[in-house]
Each structure stands twice: as C-alpha cells, then as structure tokens.
C-alpha cells in the first residue's frame, strides 16, 4: 500500500512535469459549440485592413518568414484536415478559418500543444509550425487576408447545408461568393468540396461547373490527387458520417485562367 502510494505520487509528479513541459492537448468536452454561426451578423472579428498589414508571424512565428499562406480550410471546424495536411506539406503555410470563437480557440490550443509535442519529440519536419487557425468570416474577409492569386488550395469540407430555400444565400458556394474565391485562388489552384448531403453536393457541383473560372477535375485527376483521400476521414464530421453509415460526396475543381478580354 505504502509502496503503491509512493508510486502514484511519483507518477503524478511525472505527469505534472510532462504537463508543464508540454502543453496538454485541449479536451473537446470543454469546446462544444452549436453547429453554426450566422455569417451575416456583425461579429467582432479582427481582420487586417489589407493583406500587406497582416502579420502572419503572430500565427506561425519565424516559420512565416519567407513563406506565404497557400492553403485555406474554410470552416475548418476542429481542424482535423489541417493536422493531416501539415506533415504532408511541411513547406506550405496553411490556415483554418472558423467563425465560431470556441471552436477556433480549440484548434489554436491543439496546434500549440502539437507544436510543443513535436519540439520535445525531436520532429524534424514542420512540427505543426505550418498550421494555424484564425477566427474569421471567410464569406466577408478573404480579400483582407489574401492577395490576388495567393492561394493554391481552398477546402470546403462538410459546410452547413442550409436546407431551407430562404437560407440558400448562406451557403458557402454561391455564384456571388465564387468570384471572391476565384480572386484569391491562383489559376491552376484547386477547390475541394466534401459533404454528406447529396442535395448540397449537387448544388456545389452545379454552381462550380457553370462558373466560367472553374472546371471539375476528371475522375483520373481526382484519383491521382493525394489530398482527396484525406477529405474522407480526417475531420470530425467525416468520422461522424462514417459512424452513421452516411454517404460522402467529394468534388475537386480547378481555377481556370481569366478569359482574354475583348478590346
């Protein structure tokens, strides 16, 4: 008994030390949040007046020097995709945009913990220094963060389906919003969409396909893209759909060159 107690004590001290040494991973139970936040409201979002004024070192530290953000996960949720992408693209800065304060805070805490863990375990890659999360409204402020053609990949994974007709204007993919995404996306850059709602999938595919600046990847091109498999299981939403035996509908679109202007 006595020996056990000393053992326990020793273990606790060890745990404590470990906790002090490396920041603990945040627990999701403290970061539960409603499924959506109204993108039309005036949220108190801090955003740069121009992309030039954005100090990315506050998010990526020195890792931001000489690099620009190229991937944006719009509505990144709990950040599952970013954590998967980080080691696969160690030289690329990627950002998660999330409107819900609590959820974006969770992702930030998680990244912080993973970075410290990577440092202590002697990770030789990016060590999660290439990922960050911003609490922001992508439907309003993309051009404040990113310059013309800055991004090479934009992700819309399991966006809010907004089933009601009246709420379709809230959908993340609309003809109006696509012009803004096309502005920040480099020609040749890709938009990835994924949803478990067939109706929304058809909506997104229809609008992206009919937009003059986007074309859908062929099945072969899609299969050859190493990022596509990550769309299925990397996120919490994706895992939930698997548990419920739901269907998943991915689609990938390429940003075309701007049409030549007639004189």
């Amino acid at each position: 008994m006595k020996e056990n107690e000393t053992n326990n004590q020793a273990m606790d001290e060890e745990k404590l030390e470990a906790a002090v040494m490396t920041k603990k991973l945040p627990q999701k139970k403290f970061y539960r949040q409603r499924a959506h936040s109204n993108p039309h409201s005036d949220h108190d979002i801090e955003y740069p007046l121009t992309p030039d004024r954005m100090d990315w070192t506050t998010l990526y530290g020195d890792y931001a020097n000489g690099r620009t953000v190229e991937f944006a996960d719009v509505g990144c949720g709990y950040g599952g995709l970013l954590m998967q992408l980080s080691p696969r693209f160690p030289e690329t800065l990627m950002i998660g945009l999330e409107l819900r304060v609590k959820v974006s805070d969770f992702v930030t805490e998680k990244i912080e913990a993973l970075r410290q863990k990577a440092t202590t375990s002697g990770d030789t890659g990016a060590g999660f220094k290439n990922v960050a999360c911003l609490r922001s409204n992508a439907m309003k402020y993309m051009p404040n963060y990113f310059g013309k053609g800055q991004l090479t990949k934009i992700f819309f994974l399991y966006p809010d389906p907004h089933f009601k007709n009246r709420k379709h204007k809230w959908r993340i993919v609309t003809p109006g919003m696509l012009a803004e995404y096309a502005y920040v996306l480099r020609p040749g850059g890709l938009i990835y969409t994924m949803t478990d709602v067939q109706d929304l999938h058809e909506w997104m595919v229809a609008h992206l396909s009919s937009h003059p600046l986007f074309e859908r990847l062929t099945k072969e091109e899609e299969d050859a893209d190493p990022v596509v498999p990550l769309l299925f299981e990397s996120t919490e939403e994706g895992q939930k759909v698997t548990r419920n035996h739901g269907s998943k509908f991915p689609a990938v679109f390429r940003r075309k060159e701007n049409p030549v202007e007639k004189n």
Binding site: V101, N165, H168, P175
Partner: protein, 388 residues
C-alpha cells in the same frame, strides 16, 4: 430622403413620392416650366413578382404605404433619369423635351444605389443585401438560367453581376465601361470587369470604416465614407495612392464629386448632417482644403465646372454658389419645399453593430471555467488524500 440630380438641361429633385423636374438653361433656371410627377400611382398598380418560395394566396399590396426615395441617377448623355423608391421599384424616365416614363419594374431587395452604365444601355442597381444587378433600360432582360446571384431560381428580371455578404453603398464605372467599381459596408472597394463581373481585377482596401461614395478620375478611384478621409487608389491595382486628413472628427463623408480644374483633380465632398462642402485639390499630394458654407445641412450637391456653379439641396431649398463666391437661393415651388422637408432619411447606421460572440468575453468565461475545473480537481484530490 431628398435627392438631387443635375444635368446640362435639368435639375431633378426627388422627395417623398414626388419628382420635380426643373428645366435649366445654362446658368439660369426656368422655374416656371417645371414638371411634377407623383410615383404613388405606379407603386400601387405595378404587379408584384412572386418569389419562388412564396404561396400563391400570399398576395401583397403597396396600397397606403408611405413612399420615400432611395437613390437616383442621370445617364452620362443626360437623356435618362432613374429613381428607386422604398416600395422596391425602379423607374426610368426619358429626359427629352418632354418627360416620359420608359419603364418601371420591381426589384427583390431594397435598392441602395443605382447608376447607368457608361453605354447607357443598362441600369445597375446595388441593394442592401449586397447584390449588384443589371437591368435593361428599354426592356426586361433575364439571365439564361434565371438564377440570382445566390444561385436561386428567381422570377425577377435582371442579370446578376456581383454579390457579397454586406450592404452595397455605391457603384461607379470607368470612362469606357470596362470596369465596374463597387463600394460596401465592409470597408471594401471591388474593381470587377464589366459586364463579366465574375472576374475581380483588384480590391482597393484601406478604409477603416464603410465606403459610402466613389468617383473615378483617370487612373484613380477616389472614395469616402465612415472614416471621414478621402482615399485615392490606383485603378488597376487598387493600391492606396494617398489618404487625406480627416475632414471632420466624426462626421462621415456622404457624397463625393470629382472635377477637373486646370488639368488637376479636385475632390468635392459633403459630410453627413453638415452644411459645409469641402474641396481638396490633388496633385501628387493633397493640397489645402477649401470650404463653401451652406445655410443648412446638405442633402445633396452638384458642382458644374462648365458654369462654375455649385448647387446645394437642403431643407431651405436649392441654393447656388458661384465659384466667385456669390450665392443665392433659387425660387422653387412650395410643393417642392414641403416635400423636401417631409422627406425622411433612412434609419440606417452603416457603422458596425458588434454584439455577437465577443472574443474578450469568451476569454474571460473560458478562464473562469478552467479555474473552476481546476478547483474541483484540487478538491477531489484533497478529499482523496484525506480518505487515504
């Protein structure tokens, strides 16, 4: 709202449900030969457009609704006048020797700005929902798929140009009509191709508050709004060229007009609820500002570089200041004066109303919650220890 539009041959004042057309001959005004049009009749008789998700029996009416003017415009050639009214109707008039209504049509959202394209073929309407739509001047036009900018089937006429989650506050065009510049409540100015507006060429950013008014001069986009400063941006890149001093410590810029003065750019601007008109010359840098005082807060103004006159509309009527410093009040019909005084300004605050999800509050709540969790944990460990 009382609105003022001036062309070479007409002065048009729009207030409450009435439009007043005053013929202009050079410097002089033929106040005797004016025309008054009341738009109430059109507003109540024009059939409604049913939205796609609305029930058939849900018939609406504009009967008895008080009409206010929202926004107005004159085409570049001075041949057309358009006005949008609060019952979400746009009216287009031809301004030849006689004034005749060409068209009236309903729009789905409350219009906040209208303008003619430089070609004079289309009326461009920006609305409070953040959309910009193109309408035919002589007849209704529709997009092939009959979808609105949100991708939704619509029964309304018009071809959608741009859309965003914001409020559209001004729309302007370059000289030849290849670019459309839009200003919104989110401090943004967007420079799009026209009419292929799905290609955004640049954003002109840098305003600290909403952008209310735009003007184009050569290779410059000039803008003003909530931050009380005149901004000048490069037309192609959107980059800031110059920013003026604050014109006032809190009153936002309400209207801008650019005038060429001896080959140099001169920016005239009025402020919300203010009777002073400010003129600043710009030549590489902003020069000393000059001011013209009116006898009451301005509702609208127009600077005519040809006749060297400045027209100002306020509750006292229409006054004219010449560039030489002379000023006089124009005699206008008592009905016009009454309408100007009765006209209500829209109760819109363009400044942001932030109440949602305050981050500071969240951080406080989070700190308190985690302190609580830690305290509980501590207690549990203490009680465990004491049990042992």
């Amino acid at each position: 709202m009382a609105l003022l539009n001036v062309s070479d041959s007409w002065i048009i004042i729009s207030a409450t449900s009435k439009l007043f057309f005053l013929q202009r001959k050079g410097k002089d005004l033929e106040t005797t030969s004016h025309k008054i049009i009341d738009v109430t009749e059109v507003s109540t008789s024009l059939p409604f457009v049913r939205t796609t998700y609305e029930l058939e029996e849900n018939v609406r009416t504009n009967q008895g609704e008080k009409i206010e003017m929202c926004c107005s415009a004159i085409s570049r050639d001075g041949q057309l006048f358009a006005v949008a009214i609060s019952s979400k109707i746009c009216l287009i008039y031809s301004l030849s020797s006689s004034i005749e209504m060409k068209r009236a049509f309903r729009v789905p959202k409350a219009p906040s700005v209208i303008t003619f394209d430089p070609q004079g073929e289309h009326l461009i309407v920006g609305d409070r929902a953040g959309n910009v739509t193109m309408y035919g001047v002589s007849e209704a036009i529709f997009s092939d798929d009959k979808l609105d900018i949100n991708g939704e089937k619509t029964n309304f006429e018009g071809i959608p140009l741009t859309g965003g989650i914001t409020m559209m506050l001004d729309v302007a065009f370059d000289e030849i009509g290849r670019r459309m510049i839009t200003a919104d409540r989110d401090e943004k100015i967007r420079i799009s191709r026209y009419p292929d507006s799905f290609v955004i060429e640049a954003y002109a950013l840098g305003h600290e508050e909403y952008v209310k008014t735009l003007a184009i001069y050569k290779n410059y986009v000039i803008s003003g709004g909530g931050d009380c400063r005149v901004h000048i941006h490069d037309f192609d890149t959107g980059k800031t060229v110059a920013v003026s001093e604050r014109l006032h410590d809190k009153k936002p810029i309400s209207q801008l007009q650019v005038v060429e003065n001896n080959g140099k750019l001169n920016v005239w601007s009025s402020l919300e609820d203010d009777s002073t008109l400010t003129s600043i010359a710009f030549d590489q840098i902003f020069q000393q500002a000059e001011q013209v005082k009116f006898d009451a807060p301005l509702m609208g103004f127009y600077v005519d570089e040809k006749t060297r006159q400045i027209y100002g509309l306020n509750t006292n009527g229409l006054s004219v200041h010449s560039f030489d410093g002379e000023s006089h009040q124009l005699a206008i019909d008592s009905n016009v004066l009454e309408a100007i005084r009765l006209a209500k300004n829209p109760d819109i605050n363009y400044f942001k109303n932030v109440t949602h999800q305050n981050v500071d509050e969240y951080k406080k709540r989070k700190a308190a919650k985690f302190a609580e969790v830690e305290a509980k944990k501590g207690k549990r460990q203490q009680s465990l220890a004491s049990q042992n």
